[in-house]
């Protein structure tokens, strides 16, 4: 698949003598040194990355690291000093103003940090603004604005003014305005940065819910790593205008590229980043109800150095058996393996975040990781969960099957 958006060697230098700044940048001078010598500010320093269709690509970094500048070059609000921005193969950095306008009208929409709703227009007119600019008739505009408002749950507020809405609602209107023209790419510059934390959670979930349905290509700017990890299919970390690392949430938390990234991820809630899959043994030792006995069960547990194993009945999970129960069953002549099984066992979906596993792990039993058909695909040992949460990834995640 070719990239929806392809950014190559993008550089932006603010100031009177961008050329000189560019030369110095290429010679390896730092942002601070260039500012000292020329008075030019490096906004973006040679950024390159691809964004696939349907992805949420998060750009994060401290304030002043060039995130806003980067996202504004993507729809031409800021012209880059050098480099190219290919949207479906067309270069935004070097196209004519008329082409750029067409791209803005049809392909790329933007959602702003402080909402930037037009205070003199009703909510519906705000949402319909992009359609009006395209010359769509008033009735059709209204219909599509109402549809977009419905998507964000604000259909009832079409005739209110923005000032009558709360911050969270205003940003939903901002989102609806971005979606109304049905763009392929949505640029979001710290869209939830101005909202308080509870509301922010709400709109983040809302965005994820919408994205599941709409599958837009989203460039999402944030300075909040938790937000980045929650939303981003891929995450780019910026520092002084340069991109220092690009990867998935787990890659960035697991293997930070440098101290800057490490400092970012230091107090991250790892329980929200990693999934059950990341700590489960891929090919767990299991027992078969038909063939295994209490004795073979005890033997397998000794070999695998663990205290409990799952028992399958064909493909179905029959339950879990602990070493103690197996031992008790083996002493009792009447009891079989089936009598030792606990059918009330903890389970987790393979995509669940680790923090959702805390309750399951408290039973002390290994957690069964299942797929959509309730088949066992892995087992999470409580110790592996703790090791991942503490960042001690050297620990063996779970006992692997012996050959």
């Amino acid at each position: 698949m070719t990239a929806k958006l392809k950014i190559q060697n993008l550089t932006k230098i603010f100031g009177p003598n961008a050329r000189e700044g560019l030369d110095r940048l290429q010679a390896g001078d730092s942002k601070a040194a260039i500012f000292e010598a020329t008075g030019n500010t490096v906004g973006i320093d040679n950024a390159s990355f691809d964004v696939e269709q349907g992805q949420i690509f998060v750009v994060m970094g401290l304030s002043g690291s060039g995130k806003s500048t980067l996202v504004r070059t993507l729809n031409g609000l800021i012209a880059p000093t050098s480099g190219s921005i290919l949207i479906d193969g067309e270069d935004i950095a070097s196209c004519s103003p008329a082409t750029l306008r067409e791209v803005r009208r049809n392909k790329v929409a933007m959602v702003f940090q402080h909402f930037a709703l037009f205070p003199h227009m009703s909510v519906a007119d705000n949402v319909a603004y992009g359609l009006k600019i395209k010359g769509i008739a008033a009735a059709e505009r209204r219909r599509r604005a109402e549809l977009a408002l419905e998507q964000v749950g604000l259909a009832a507020y079409a005739d209110s003014t923005p000032a009558e809405l709360s911050g969270g609602m205003q940003q939903r209107v901002g989102l609806a305005r971005g979606l109304a023209t049905d763009p392929e790419i949505l640029l979001m510059d710290e869209p939830f940065g101005a909202l308080d934390p509870l509301i922010r959670r709400d709109v983040q979930d809302e965005l994820l819910r919408l994205q599941k349905k709409l599958r837009k290509t989203i460039i999402f700017i944030t300075h909040d790593l938790n937000e980045a990890l929650l939303l981003g299919d891929r995450i780019a970390i910026m520092k002084d205008g340069a991109i220092v690392q690009i990867g998935t949430a787990q890659e960035i938390v697991d293997t930070p590229a440098d101290d800057y990234v490490r400092a970012f991820v230091a107090d991250i809630d790892r329980g929200r980043v990693f999934t059950a899959e990341s700590v489960s043994s891929a090919d767990p030792v299991v027992l078969q109800l038909g063939t295994d006995t209490s004795e073979t069960a005890m033997q397998s547990m000794e070999d695998a150095n663990c205290n409990a194993l799952y028992v399958l009945d064909g493909e179905e999970i029959a339950g879990v058996v602990t070493y103690q129960d197996a031992m008790a069953a083996s002493r009792d002549d009447d009891a079989t393996l089936a009598d030792a099984i606990q059918s009330d066992f903890p389970t987790a979906d393979r995509g669940s975040a680790l923090h959702e596993l805390y309750g399951a792990a408290s039973s002390g039993l290994p957690i069964a990781v299942t797929d959509d058909n309730n088949r066992l695909v892995g087992v999470v040992e409580p110790e592996a969960l703790l090791a991942q949460l503490s960042g001690d990834t050297s620990a063996d995640p779970a006992p692997a099957a012996k050959p």
Binding site: N75, L77, R101, E102, V103, R104, R105, N106, V108, A109, M110, F112, H114, A116, F118, P119, H120, Y129, G130, K132, I133, K134, T161, A163, T181, L187
Partner: protein, 310 residues
């Protein structure tokens, strides 16, 4: 005591006389005459119209307008004022003055708003316009009359041209200010959706600057009213002429009657345009908020209001 004029006495007045009489007047007279044509046309039409409308009909219409914009109290004031003016026998003069004012303000808007828009969109235009506006506002209104008479002659139209020049600066300045004060992120948003520069002006900048522009219109109107008496010295009529002739003949009663007429007209027009500006605000600022803003650090209510509207 020595003074520089002992050495050299510059015949400045002669130079100006020569420049104007020998060069500007013969060469440009037709141009200046042509410039008067649209002004005279609008003025004649309005003057005829206002004087043709029966007094009671006009009073009712203006009272209705005042009532809809500035409220009931102001409407009652309007009715009483107009009846008073009629009873002191100054109705025709008042209508003439009104038509002069409306003509001047109309031309100020037609010239000033586009100039203000240009200045707001282009720093170089602003750099050229700003000193010109400064000069226009610092030159005493009396001094305008000399070149105006030389170039345009005497009469109604030259009087109105002098008024236009004098009253133009506020509307240009405040149009420029209003558009420049439109929040940057709103401009950015409009641009991000692919607005052309006209769409931006029409949908975003002008509506959001409207309150500030209306404040400029109000100031322009007040300046135009302040020229009423002065222009009567170069042949303009109306209430100004009543005051001027009253002064000339030491007829205190006549001059006062004319003056009262001008003041009443000024109050009515001021209130209507102020109210129009408020109606155009993005949201009206409730009294409580205005009062509170006095106790807050930063800008007083009026400027804060303008900024918010912008």
């Amino acid at each position: 005591m020595f003074s520089p004029s002992d050495v050299l006495l510059i015949p400045f007045d002669d130079w100006v006389n020569i420049l104007v009489r020998e060069w500007i007047v013969p060469n440009f007279r037709p141009l200046f005459r042509a410039l008067q044509v649209p002004v005279s046309m609008v003025l004649d039409w309005l003057d005829t119209f206002f004087n043709a409308v029966p007094m009671l009909v006009f009073t009712a219409a203006l009272a209705l307008l005042t009532w809809r914009t500035a409220g009931r109290g102001m409407a009652i004031f309007t009715v009483i004022s107009l009846i008073f003016i009629d009873m002191i026998g100054l109705w025709p003069e008042t209508m003439t003055t009104l038509s002069m004012i409306v003509t001047s303000v109309l031309f100020c808007v037609v010239l000033g708003v586009p100039l203000g828009i240009l200045a707001a969109r282009n720093d170089r235009v602003l750099a050229v316009i700003r000193p010109v506006l400064d000069i226009m506002q610092t030159v005493p209104s009396f001094v305008y009359l000399v070149p105006i008479v030389m170039l345009f002659g005497v009469g109604m139209a030259p009087g109105i041209i002098a008024t236009i020049i004098f009253a133009l600066p506020p509307i240009v300045r405040l149009t420029n200010l209003g558009i420049r004060n439109v929040r940057g992120d709103l401009i950015e948003a409009a641009e991000a959706f692919g607005s052309t520069s006209w769409q931006m002006l029409w949908n975003i900048q002008l509506p959001l600057a409207m309150r500030t522009i209306m404040a400029g219109l109000n100031q322009t109107l007040m300046l135009a009213l302040s020229m009423v008496v002065i222009t009567s010295m170069i042949g303009a009529g109306g209430l100004g002429l009543t005051v001027y002739t009253g002064l000339g003949r030491l007829d205190v009663g006549g001059a006062t009657a004319g003056g009262v007429g001008i003041v009443l007209l000024a109050i009515i027009l001021d209130r209507i345009t102020q109210a129009l500006g408020e109606a155009n605000g993005v949201r009206t600022v409730p009294l409580r908020q205005t009062v509170l803003s006095f106790f807050r650090r930063g800008a007083p209510a009026s400027t804060a209001e303008i900024r918010r509207a912008a």
